[in-house]
Symmetry: C2
Subunit: 111 residues, 2 copies
């Protein structure tokens, strides 16, 4: 009954998780590094990563003792199509998206 739109939208509903996705947009990251900018325990971030993984929004691969997180943007496709069914939204307004990133990304940027 509940398709995966449930899982994807629920995953996106949390600001911490959206921030993580935005961080992974730049590059793959280890779990510890993902957790670093947040004022929250590593265990909490680990749980968020599980939720993102279950939603298919990221994948995790263990190399050595480090688990790498990788963005899987294709998982957004179905949800994006669903939303666009309600209106033709201007395709990829990068300016608007940059603004979101400014708000959502922690100030960890290195130029």
């Amino acid at each position: 009954m509940s398709n995966d739109l449930d899982t994807v939208f629920a995953a996106l509903a949390d600001p911490t998780r959206r921030t993580i996705l935005a961080m992974l947009l730049e590059d793959d990251m280890a779990v510890t590094d993902v957790a670093e900018p947040f004022e929250m325990s590593l265990a909490a971030i680990s749980k968020h990563l599980v939720i993102l993984t279950r939603a298919g929004l990221i994948s995790q691969e263990k190399r050595g003792r480090v688990k790498w997180c990788k963005l899987e943007p294709d998982a957004l496709r179905a949800a994006s199509v669903w939303m666009q069914g309600f209106g033709q939204f201007e395709p990829v307004n990068l300016d608007a998206f940059e603004r979101f990133l400014e708000v959502e990304l922690p100030a960890t940027d290195e130029t």
Copy 2:
């Protein structure tokens, strides 16, 4: 801190609410009529409509004793832009959307 993407994505995470939105795509509806196809109390649907209203996804206008619900697809714009920032998804694949509607809409169709 939490912008309105929180509210919009959270609202979309529930299948009942997504179905309601799809129903309203066809036409404005009274609360009682929205509730009709669901096996759920009117009060429960009323709560769902509050959540959709708070997210800006619908508006409600009372005329007489009837409260009409109207889809407000513009509220999806910000969320749609955010998602598209992660990838160029093919714009409005209507076929795919129709398939979603088939799954999500209750069998209330006439014709």
